[in-house]
Amino acid sequence: MPYSLASYLTVSSLLFCLGMYTVLTRRNAIAILMGIELVLNAAALNFVAFSRFLQAVEKSAQLSGQVFTLFIIAVAAAEVAVALAIVLSLYSKMKTIDVEEFRQLHG
């Protein structure tokens, strides 16, 4: 693969699609969480690749993509903390983490 923007976009498309496949097919709540991480990483990779390769209008505009990646990482950290709290709390109530078993909101 040549070192080019199109290669980076292909890699991040692959990450996105595998992440989406994971989210769609897994029944284990934590495995679904891993799929979400892959999708978020694909977006982050796109931001950084575009900020590197595309003609920047000014120096600060070139780094904006990297700043947005920092925000993505912060949101991912918050998301995984809350998601794992929910999963562990459901586990202690229902003794399973299979998402097909979670059918009621009020248990």
């Binding site: 699609c17 029944r27 799929g35 700043v67 586990y91």
Partner: protein
């Protein structure tokens, strides 16, 4: 040389990714995610984003992945059920994501991106990112910190209520 390093990091990123999606063992999937995240950190560094690469290693591998593996181990004794849905669902999902992948690759390769040539030399980014975070992006930065605090308190509250409230 750069070419070679790029290909190595692409392989480190992409191959374990298939384990995350297709493995039948959740522990294998979690450890494959480690290699994928590390490969992405390498790709960031190759893009001249040294600070983001380090942040990726520290937060994703050091924080998020440890949390996920912790979650996997906490729930090991859950009822043993198949990790994925039945076959028709998997084929449908594969067709859908395959179509989307084809479309994305087509767009990525056929579009005329206004790529800068020659590429500017990579420069240290940490100071510039710090200036941006406390200047142009001050409000998003503060909102993100508030979000992290809220997530922290919320996570503790959820777990406390379910374990302590019984």
């Amino acid at each position: 040389m750069k070419q070679l390093i790029f290909n190595v990091f692409v392989l480190i990123t992409v191959i374990p990714c298939f384990w995350v999606a297709f493995s039948t063992n959740i522990v294998h999937a979690a450890f494959s995610l480690l290699f994928t995240l590390f490969g992405i950190a390498g790709l960031f560094v190759l893009l001249g984003a040294d600070f983001i690469g380090i942040v990726q290693v520290v937060i994703y591998i050091g924080g998020i992945l440890v949390l996920i593996i912790f979650g996997v181990m906490m729930t090991q004794r859950a009822k043993m059920l198949p990790l994925s849905v039945q076959l028709p669902g998997r084929v449908l999902a594969l067709a859908l994501t395959g179509t989307i992948f084809g479309a994305l690759v087509l767009v990525a390769s056929k579009s005329l991106w206004p790529v800068a040539s020659p590429l500017p030399e990579p420069a240290p980014t940490t100071a510039a990112i710090g200036n941006l975070l406390l200047g142009k992006y001050l409000i998003p930065f503060e909102v993100a910190s508030l979000l992290l605090l809220a997530a922290l308190v919320g996570a503790v509250l959820i777990v406390r209520r379910s374990i302590g409230g019984e």
